[in-house]
């Protein structure tokens, strides 16, 4: 279960909404217009179990999300869900990896402080001894052109 975001963590002018999370109840979030640019040369990496619960994050993930490792491990990955992301994108993500295939897409993520960052994510199933044991997502820097396309496209998918 994800607890609501806390106002004291938020930096800058914010809006407020309630996200309805699949299987994880609802979560009150605060979000701002402050973008953190993707760090050059880095990959943001996380791994989840089969249910999408975070089991591993790398240092870049911690720095970009603003959460500590302890706050992330054991939480549903929707801890980063941003209200501007259409749920169809995540349905497609889960449908694709459940078929055992790779998913790739552009994602706007929500930081602990209410800000956001864009990534190009690739999610793959982790197969060990022939069985899916979890999923890994590796994010790279998206081009500005692609981000702008998503800014146009995503609002039409609600």
């Amino acid at each position: 279960m994800l607890s609501d975001m806390k106002l004291e963590d938020i930096v800058g002018e914010y809006k407020e909404t309630v996200l309805d999370l699949y299987g994880n109840g609802s979560r009150k979030i605060f979000y701002t217009d402050i973008e953190t640019p993707y760090p050059d040369g880095k990959l943001i990496v996380s791994t989840t179990d089969k249910a999408g619960i975070i089991t591993h994050v790398n240092q870049s993930f911690i720095e970009m999300s603003g959460y500590t490792e302890n706050e992330l491990i054991g939480m549903p990955h929707s801890i980063l869900r941003h209200p501007d992301m259409p749920s169809a994108a995540f349905k497609d993500l889960w449908d694709t990896v459940n078929r055992g295939e790779k998913w790739q897409g552009f994602v706007k993520n929500l930081c602990k402080d209410g800000g956001y960052y864009w990534v190009k994510a690739t999610v793959i199933p982790n197969i060990r001894h022939g069985k899916v044991v979890g999923y890994t997502s590796v994010r790279r820097k998206p081009s500005r052109t692609k981000i702008n396309e998503c800014i146009q496209l995503y609002p039409t998918l609600f």
Binding site: D40, N58, K120, V123, I124, T136, R140, S143
Partner: protein, 248 residues
């Protein structure tokens, strides 16, 4: 019975003799007859792996998936404190200061080294560049990539970061780094094949103890390494999954 050891063809020419010294050390320590076979290029090496001719390999991360998942290789060790990172650089007098300013149609100089090439292309992607809208030019060494930039043959070079750092100061002054990767979990590793798998633990222990005596230390130094550290099976699987996300 004699076994065959090979090294990823991207090894630095400075360490050529080091690998022969290492092979001799390994034979003495393990008591096995091991022959070092070096290949000129990745394709020739992959053909040998496919033909089951290889028993030990210092492998490029790009080939790790094939070695583990198709050929039953297992990880032994990797060099301490060394990871495979790439640098995107241009000539110092290029007006470009950011990957985002690079335009389609440019000439990109690379070596055949597959993991550095992959990491480099990921960084160029942030500038809307991919294999379909650039001209990729292959060179035989990192020094030749630098030359191609200085002579205007190529607009951008993808370097192994370590090799870039080892270029002469004079050369480096004439180049400009646009971006340096900081991935830190992609590395070459020494891997053992099915024919020697029964001796995996012993050989791994020998390698891990190598920096404890002067002889072993000097052999490591001839490879440019300080020590080996153990690679767990899951660490290797994780790296393979990570590489897998980078090749699409």
């Amino acid at each position: 019975m004699s076994y065959t050891f090979t090294v990823s063809p991207d090894f630095s020419p400075d360490h050529l003799s080091g690998w022969y010294i290492f092979n001799t050390w390994l034979q003495r320590q393990s008591g096995e007859a091991i022959h070092l076979e070096l290949y000129d290029n990745f394709q020739a090496q992959r053909d040998a792996i496919q033909a089951n001719k290889i028993d030990l390999i210092y492998a490029n991360p790009f080939d790790a998936a094939m070695l583990v998942r198709e050929k039953g290789f297992l990880p032994l060790v990797r060099a301490w404190n060394i990871s495979d990172e790439a640098i995107i650089a241009v000539s110092a007098d290029s007006p470009v200061n950011d990957v985002a300013e690079l335009l389609p149609g440019i000439n990109v100089a690379v070596t055949e080294d597959p993991d550095v090439h992959t990491i480099g292309m990921i960084m160029l992607e942030a500038g809307d560049l991919d294999a379909s809208n650039i001209n990729t030019r292959f060179y035989n060494s990192q020094v030749l990539i630098a030359k191609s930039l200085l002579q205007g043959e190529a607009d951008v070079g993808i370097f192994l970061a370590k090799a870039f750092d080892d270029l002469s100061n004079l050369t480096k002054k004439q180049l400009k780094i646009l971006v340096r990767s900081q991935i830190s979990v992609i590395h070459h590793s020494l891997m053992i094949g099915p024919a020697l798998a029964g001796r995996r633990d012993e050989i791994q222990a020998l390698l891990l103890a190598m920096n404890n005596d002067d002889k072993g230390k000097s052999v490591l130094n001839s490879l440019g390494f300080d020590a080996w550290i153990k690679v767990e099976d899951e660490e290797m699987e994780f790296m393979i999954d990570l590489m897998d996300t980078l090749i699409i």
